[in-house]
């Protein structure tokens, strides 16, 4: 399908736009400073100074505004449409979060200011910690980790520190096969070997599986990393028994909180035996994904592990302060106090919707997912066809006979105005299509998505070629990823 482009490659509102360097006009400028008030410096050895300037573009403000405005229009976004990405919780990002996070009383804070001048910020952080503790059923929280994987790192480091304090950090971590790739990667960088555990035929982790691993490996096992609910959208109902087995063997249980949006006010990870977990504020607590960050991955622990949290910790009182004297702490996991701007957004969301609003979000997220499960189950195979939590995993089994695969279904959705679901994950379901609607989407939006999926299922039978070439009408069609990796072009080739 070719399209009639204008002479500059533009079609209607879809503006072509070169790389920013190609817009550069020598001598143009887009910034201004006051006239110099201080004499130019005379102390530096000219031989140590840069002779050739970096090839940054020379642009006016309008050039820059237009460039990035056009780029922005090539992005799909939650603001533009439904994003059914399983395990990513692409809920709406309220704008009041942005306004509060943009207040100069927050953005203007230097992290090295005396704490007496940071009381509002510390109060906000303490309130957020307390709210996350209540939601997770755990006791103490660090807000320092910058993202989910960073929280995982922090949590496993805490497990390692706690076991080391008991005398032996141990050497292995149990990870279910359905885990997100960050779980084994995290355990590995914390110095642990990974032991993969299979799920039962019902998609759940079973106490016998864990008990067998513990029996075989004994005190080599530092703990278990488990996503709850799991990446199949199923509630891990055996966790109380499983956690007890791990604890009895001297291990600790790490909870991956990627799917916390199913649980708020419903059940608490701490109550079923999880010892440490991270929380993705950019999933459950409505802070924007930003095209790949910044997120925030606070970690909650039970009381016995609080001494190992990164330092500093916030000390409560009429005057809040920072306690750096934490001899058992794993140390800092990044500079300063965390992605503070993200914390402000999450705090705003929690305060605005309140405890009842959080619980309602989880209830509606679960209802929406089950609605999609039933509706989509007519045209697609549902991997585990029984009530799910906040997400449902489909497969391409019914379409594969026509030569159409998960990737083709995903790409065709783009033509129909939707971001594709998470695909080929979890790995335990071949050709998975993982759909998470969140509570943000209306019934009309869900029905629209169902109609699009049903159309694709029909097309798979009647015109499979249409799907194999999809997307057809997006800003770019399928990109050659093999060529990109074979001879990588990772920077702009100047002079090309």
């Amino acid at each position: 399908m070719t399209r009639p482009f204008g002479p500059n490659g533009t079609l209607g509102l879809a503006h072509e736009e070169p790389v920013v360097f190609a817009r550069s006009v020598p001598g143009r400028r887009g910034w201004s400073l006051p006239d110099p008030e201080v004499a130019a410096a005379d102390d530096l050895d000219p031989a140590t100074l840069r002779a050739v300037p970096p090839r940054l573009p020379e642009l006016g403000e309008l050039d820059v505004v237009r460039h990035y405005t056009r780029l922005s229009q090539w992005n799909y976004s939650v603001d533009a449409g439904f994003y059914p990405l399983g395990s990513c919780t692409m809920k709406y990002n309220p704008r009041v979060n942005e306004d509060i996070a943009s207040l100069p009383g927050f953005t203007g804070l230097h992290p090295q200011q005396p704490v007496a001048s940071l009381q509002g910020a510390l109060r906000l952080m303490a309130e957020l910690e307390d709210a996350l503790a209540e939601i997770t059923g755990l006791c103490a929280v660090t807000l320092q980790p910058s993202a989910g994987a960073h929280g995982e790192y922090t949590g496993v480091a805490i497990i390692r520190a706690a076991l080391t304090a008991r005398g032996n950090p141990r050497s292995k971590i149990l990870v279910p096969e359905s885990a997100h790739g960050t779980n084994p990667a995290t355990a590995a960088i914390c110095g642990y070997q990974i032991v993969a555990l299979p799920a039962g035929p019902d998609g759940l982790l079973h106490p016998e599986t864990v008990a067998a691993a513990m029996d075989t490996l004994g005190d080599e096992v530092a703990g278990l990393m488990v996503t709850h609910p799991n990446t199949l959208g199923l509630y891990e109902r055996n966790l109380p028994a499983i956690c007890e087995i791990v604890h009895r063997g001297g291990g600790l249980v790490y909870g991956d909180g990627a799917n916390l949006n199913a649980l708020m006010g419903v059940a608490r990870p701490g109550d079923v035996g999880i010892d440490v977990m991270h929380i993705n504020l950019h999933k459950t607590f409505s802070t924007p994904h930003g095209g790949g960050g910044p997120g925030a991955g606070p970690v909650a622990v039970r009381a016995a592990l609080a001494q190992f949290l990164p330092r500093p910790v916030i000390r409560r009182g009429r005057e809040l302060s920072l306690d750096w004297d934490r001899p058992q702490s794993i140390g800092k996991v990044r500079s300063f106090f965390g992605n503070f701007g993200v914390l402000v957004r999450a705090w705003t969301y929690i305060r605005e919707v309140g405890g009842t609003g959080l619980a309602e979000a989880s209830r509606l997220a679960v209802l929406n997912a089950n609605y999609l499960r039933v509706r989509l189950g007519r045209a697609f195979q549902v991997a585990y066809d029984r009530p799910c939590m906040h997400e449902v995993v489909l497969t391409d089994k019914l379409q594969r006979d026509h030569g159409v695969q998960t990737m083709d279904i995903a790409k065709r959705l783009i033509d129909l105005g939707y971001h594709p679901p998470t695909v080929y994950f979890p790995l335990v379901v071949p050709h998975a299509i993982m759909v998470e609607p969140t509570e943000s989407e209306s019934l009309a939006e869900l029905d629209g998505f169902v109609a699009a999926m049903e159309q694709i299922a029909r097309e798979a039978v009647e015109d499979p070629g249409l799907l194999l070439g999809a997307p057809h009408v997006s800003f770019r069609r399928r990109l050659d990823e093999v060529a990109a990796a074979k001879s990588p072009v990772l920077t702009y080739p100047f002079g090309e």
Binding site: R29, G30, W31, A41, L44, T48, L56, L59, L71, S72, Q73, N75, V78, K91, V96, F106, H110, P111, Q119, A121, I135, S146, A147, G148, H150, G181, A188, G191, G265, V266, A267, V272, S286, H289, G291, G292, V333, S335, F336, F337, G338, F340, R351, E352, G355, E360, L364, I414, H419, G469, S474, R476, R477, R478, L479, A483, A485, P488, L490, T491
Partner: protein
């Protein structure tokens, strides 16, 4: 039937009823009862405050913001890892566009070309600034960038080289993060304190080098503001067969001084916050990470590459993903997934607006302001500036009274005088780390000198 509590949930009672009918349950509680065993249900409301209207939450947020005294609104001489520079107005508006803000990681390139091209441009700008071949799409911040660099150097050393030397005045928080990351003892850390002149002592460095060293990391401008002798350090490090990792305190320095890539660095990392990101109490910031072409497959983090689409048009994709956790799982180069995408884009916007001449001018002004201040403070009775080496925009001041007293004393007049070094080195009670940038006016500089003079010992009194 649930009552609607939040304006962010669009479902009406009627729609909820309809969905429940389709799903086959009389209510959401009945559905949840089938999913979650009764004894695992919370069974009570969350003990959190109730919902608020938008005006109420805005008032509450404003009250908390108002309970702070933002340094950026006063005379700020704080640096030490976070730097106040002017941020052009357009950046906040562009970075706040919902199409950037509310997009997911660009795993579907056909509908993510905006983020992808923006990050490709960012990668190019970072390599230009540092004089390196290739840069990634960012890591969390400067501290984690340093830790990742040590891991990378260890991988390049293939396990035969297990020791990383952290030389000279590296930001203490970055050192601490490396120690935390070294918890599993994958990399043995060996730190080398700066010499009396505040810089790496070359003879001490020689003594630390050996065939087991995978890399030497130095910071320049270092934590005390000084420029290290990178050519001399690079020669020694390379002679020992190790990699040189250079950490940059403020990337503007690379527009003024010879960039690390031209001086022998193998990996260059930096805190990217000074490039157009607000101070924001320490985050979200931006870890910059660059290296040489031949080391790219050992580099952590996401990378965007250029390619073509099915119609032959130029486009961009995430590439070399076989280094990453979602493909390699426990064999990945890092566990990093979500990074600082929007902050990287924001830094690219900043560099686009400020351009090469602007970046140089910001750096020159910052240095000139700091030099003016340093000379004036050096002339104050009782004060001293112990380091004579070349510096960028930060310097140490020795003080006649404990530095923390000066900082506390000037806080009420809205002057943030600097960082007492006792914050990180308890015995260094009478040293203040002072930073000036282009954002400090002449009046602010002179006012600080006047206020510091108030702490000078009185003429004829005990000095």
């Amino acid at each position: 039937m649930p009552e609607r509590c939040s304006k962010y949930i669009p479902a009406t009672c009627g729609e909820v009823r309809h969905m429940l009918e389709v799903v086959g349950y009389p209510g959401i509680d009945a559905l949840l009862a089938d999913l979650v065993p009764a004894e695992q249900r919370l069974g009570r409301p969350l003990a959190l405050p109730g919902p608020m209207s938008e005006p109420e939450v805005m008032a509450l947020g404003a009250a908390l913001a108002g309970a702070n005294r933002p340094a950026a609104a006063g005379a700020c001489f704080l640096g030490a890892g976070a730097y106040r520079h002017h941020i052009p107005a357009a950046i906040h508006h562009l970075a706040g566009r919902g199409e950037f803000l509310t997009a997911y990681t660009p795993y579907q390139p056909e509908i993510s070309q905006g983020t992808l091209q923006g990050i490709f441009e960012f990668q190019t700008m970072v390599t230009e600034l540092f004089g390196m071949d290739v840069a990634n799409a960012s890591v969390y911040d400067g501290a984690t960038a340093l830790a990742e660099a040590l891991f990378m150097a260890h991988r390049v050393g293939r396990g035969k080289r297990s020791r990383a030397v952290l030389a000279g005045a590296i930001h203490p928080e970055h050192l601490e993060v490396c120690c935390t990351y070294g918890l599993a003892r994958i990399v043995a850390l060996d730190s080398l304190a700066p010499g009396a002149d505040g810089r790496v002592s070359l003879t001490d460095l020689d003594a630390k080098l050996g065939p087991d060293v995978c890399c030497v990391a130095v910071q320049s401008p270092n934590f005390l503001g000084l420029i290290e002798d990178l050519p001399a350090i690079a020669a020694r490090v390379h002679a020992a067969g190790a990699l040189l990792v250079v950490s940059v305190s403020d990337p503007h320095a690379c527009a003024l001084f010879q960039p690390p890539g031209e001086l022998g660095a193998d990996i260059v990392i930096a805190e990217g916050q000074p490039l157009g990101l607000p101070l924001s109490m320490g985050g979200p910031y931006l870890g910059l990470f660059a290296t040489r072409n031949d080391l790219v497959r050992q580099m952590p983090g996401r990378l965007v590459g250029r390619t073509t689409d099915a119609d032959g048009r130029t486009g961009f994709v995430l590439t070399l993903a076989t280094r990453e956790q979602h493909i390699r799982r426990e064999k990945a180069t890092s566990n990093i997934c979500t990074n600082q995408g929007l902050n990287a884009l924001q830094a690219a916007m900043y560099m686009s607006i400020v351009g090469p001449a602007g970046l140089r001018e910001v750096a020159e002004r910052s240095h000139a302001h700091a030099l003016h201040l340093k000379r004036a403070v050096a002339a104050l009775p009782g004060f001293g500036v112990p380091h004579a080496g070349p510096f960028f925009h930060e310097f140490v001041v020795t003080t006649p009274v404990p530095a923390s007293e000066i900082v506390q004393g000037l806080l009420p007049v809205g002057v943030f005088a600097g960082l007492p070094l006792s914050r990180y080195f308890p015995e260094r009670t009478h040293e203040l780390l002072v930073c000036a940038t282009e954002a400090n006016s002449r009046a602010e500089l002179d006012e600080l000198v006047r206020l510091l003079g108030g702490f000078s010992p009185r003429a004829g009194g005990a000095a």
